[in-house]
Symmetry: C2
Subunit: 451 residues, 2 copies
């Protein structure tokens, strides 16, 4: 094994995992590096953010997933660069020489040059993002229950989601469902069912990747559950006072960013050409121009499909690229003929709106409403890794369907944002209950429901 071709995979997301699995029967020595110890099933992250699932339902240790594959070692470490001349990856945990390198480091949210919006409007990419958004939403309701000023109470129970793609639609629908179904009986001073949920989209319609009739259905379905859908409206500012659309400021208890993503730092590490979203422009075999031994795949790669359209940043595309890169490396190692250029096959688009409502657009099948929702649920359970996670998630969903409950409504301490930064915009300066009391000062005497 000492002389085996050394393959390094950066990132244990859909692309990286699939690349590793694709090399299972190939005599190579794989090292998979990730800064997290877990693979995160991002399509269901919004359900963690809205307390329907727990982190352990959608995140599993990478080394556990690959534990049976003896030609892989998994190391948890922060990569900080690639020396393409010496063919070495440098990381906190050491330097790792490679013969073949697969870069699958994914994407993160991007604020179109307004990074100062980030503390007020977190995006949804990692487990920590999801628990932070969950904390903000739940804390907003807690603060509203304590609030005696009606206007501030209204601001605290206003939730703004920026971006009308699948993630934005799913977040808006899930917050509305939670406020309407799961919370009302638990509060005495406020009526969570009257919470305002706004979905703001700069383009002319939400779910732009779907046919127009499905977009329209999604908008109607959101509006039926009380979500205000604002299309053709661009956000001009996000700050402690709330979200600004033109001159209009919407004060909010929590803001979620679902509008833009940018690729990870891979293009910098490689000194490679990139597109506007920071993705590395790769050759038809997904390798980097000038470096046939380096592949960039998944959300980090800019690839065009057969029609010249950009391959979307979704899980099936990432998996196809992972499988393809593995096949190229396998052919090299085995001395076989190189496979033809990467060809993306688009199987379709799915988005859920909430309880009993989803849209599904496959090549031969269009579904909406209850049937779409069932299809969406079965498909996602199927794509989870491991029987246990499938059972746990299916059980959670069925239980919530019957009881209208939300299991995982935990507020735990903030992960990284300071209390000042993390404070929801509408909150009258009250400190988060988890943070030490520093500015409790002049709170008025409360009467509340009991007079």
């Amino acid at each position: 094994m000492a002389d085996a071709c050394r393959v390094i995979i950066l990132g244990g997301g859909f692309a990286g995992l699939e690349a590793a699995k694709g090399l299972e029967r190939v005599p190579v020595a794989i090292t998979l590096l990730d800064r997290q110890n877990h693979h995160c099933f991002q399509p269901l992250l919004y359900q963690v953010a809205t307390a329907a699932l727990t982190p352990a339902d959608v995140a599993w240790p990478i080394r556990g997933i690959l534990s049976g594959q003896r030609n892989v070692r998994v190391l948890m470490t922060n990569v900080d660069g690639i020396d393409t001349e010496r063919r070495v990856v440098t990381a906190d945990g050491g330097s790792f020489p490679y013969d073949q390198l697969i870069v699958a480091t994914g994407a993160t949210h991007a604020y179109f040059g307004h990074e100062e919006w980030a503390p007020y409007a977190p995006g949804l990419k990692r487990i920590e993002d999801a628990t932070e958004i969950r904390r903000r939403i739940l804390i907003a309701f807690e603060h509203a229950e304590l609030e005696i000023d009606a206007q501030r109470r209204e601001a605290l129970t206003t939730f703004v989601i920026v971006g009308g793609g699948p993630t934005g639609v799913e977040m808006a629908g899930a917050i509305a469902d939670m406020a309407r179904d799961a919370l009302p009986h638990d509060f005495r001073n406020i009526d969570p069912a009257r919470a305002r949920v706004l979905l703001v989209e700069a383009g002319p319609r939400i779910l732009a990747a779907f046919p127009e009739d499905l977009s329209r259905y999604a908008k109607d379905a959101l509006e039926r559950r009380g979500v205000e859908v604002l299309t053709g409206r661009a956000v001009s500012a996000i700050g402690p006072e709330g979200v600004s659309i033109g001159d209009h400021v919407i004060r909010a208890g929590a803001i979620v960013w679902a509008a833009g993503v940018a690729a990870s730092a891979a293009a910098d590490w490689l000194g490679a050409d990139r597109d506007r979203a920071g993705r590395v422009k790769v050759l038809p075999d997904l390798s980097v121009p000038g470096f046939p031994e380096i592949f960039v795949i998944g959300d980090t790669a800019a690839v065009a499909d057969a029609d010249g359209k950009s391959v979307p940043g979704i899980a099936p595309a990432a998996k196809q690229m992972g499988r393809y890169a593995a096949s190229v490396i396998a052919a090299r190692v085995m001395g076989d003929r190189a496979p033809g250029p990467f060809q993306y096959r688009h199987h379709g688009d799915l988005a859920t709106i909430g309880r009993k409502a989803a849209v599904v657009k496959l090549r031969w099948l269009t579904l909406r409403g209850f049937l779409g929702w069932l299809f969406w649920g079965v498909a996602h359970v199927y794509f989870l890794i491991g029987l246990r996670n499938r059972i746990a998630v299916a059980f959670s969903w069925m239980w919530d369907y019957v009881t209208f409950g939300r299991r995982s409504r935990l507020i735990t301490q903030p992960a990284n944002a300071g209390p000042a930064e993390a404070e929801p915009a509408g909150s009258s300066g009250r400190p988060s209950a988890a943070a030490p009391a520093e500015n409790a000062g002049t709170a008025p005497q409360r009467g509340g429901v009991w007079g």
Copy 2:
């Protein structure tokens, strides 16, 4: 309702919840204040710390638990004092006047005057403590897998638990089980089964509350699974270098404090007499001397049982006190005769050691081994709140029993400790992989298993 007797309950633990439920049919207006939004089932917290259960399995929103009880409102806020003259509780969220007050704010870990040990040896009282300990244990294995120095690798896979009560025994057994059963197949450079687990107890034997033969059985059962049990050995220092016992320093990847608790700040708020553990010395009706309208219950109260022994800080005792305080208030409100003095009934002691091993000592029943373990499991599932949690926990346990797995092995970012503080003692200064790389500098080139 406006004229109803105003009852304030501080704390939504076992004692506070039981007091609220005990007043369900009494015409009072209850306000329950807690700084957390959830009730935490502390007896199973060690299973979150060792990745067997997820936080949502053992923590449930307090307002959800009490949602059907219309005479209770639940508010999440930090209490900072009690004005016993004006009969007002002051908190971040406002001032709350009371007619009857129940203080059930629990206890926290105490370091016998060595608060400087806290960053290196967290205790296990809150969800955040459990996920922090889980993070440290899992990170220690991750760092060991990356480590090329054999001595440092050994230090990283050494775990020291300070305190041989039920929590210490349960943590030691669970870490040993996890290292031996769940992790081995996942690592390539280290053998987790060879991890060292040390349980250090200053007294002559572990599980001092149990009869001697059960203590001995527990020690044997721990040793059979590889735990080194050190009794009669007091810890003299805990710091970045590890745990010191006399002159001997044990370097460790993670240290857990299970040795001492102290009551919360209630005695300060009330200006009341306290015992050495900071618990308020209450009258036989659990009220505070001089303040018949203030009750202190649960881990915050110092009460003697019929034999003059101190009532232990366990869930059944807290529940009994909660029920009793509710009955005293109910009698006052209804104009009935006051109940007799509080009498603690000790039902028994339970502690689990690990897979198929536990000790149970009830009045009429003594169990150990597999039968004790079954009894322990059934009892704990029974005491969980809600059918759903019972199903989820029972399913998790059965699955792990069959597969030897651990579901919830997630490393998420530290909640509050800075990376420097949170760094495990044995770790050669490598930054946590979740933290930004600041001192990666001089890491040596790695060969690892692949040469």
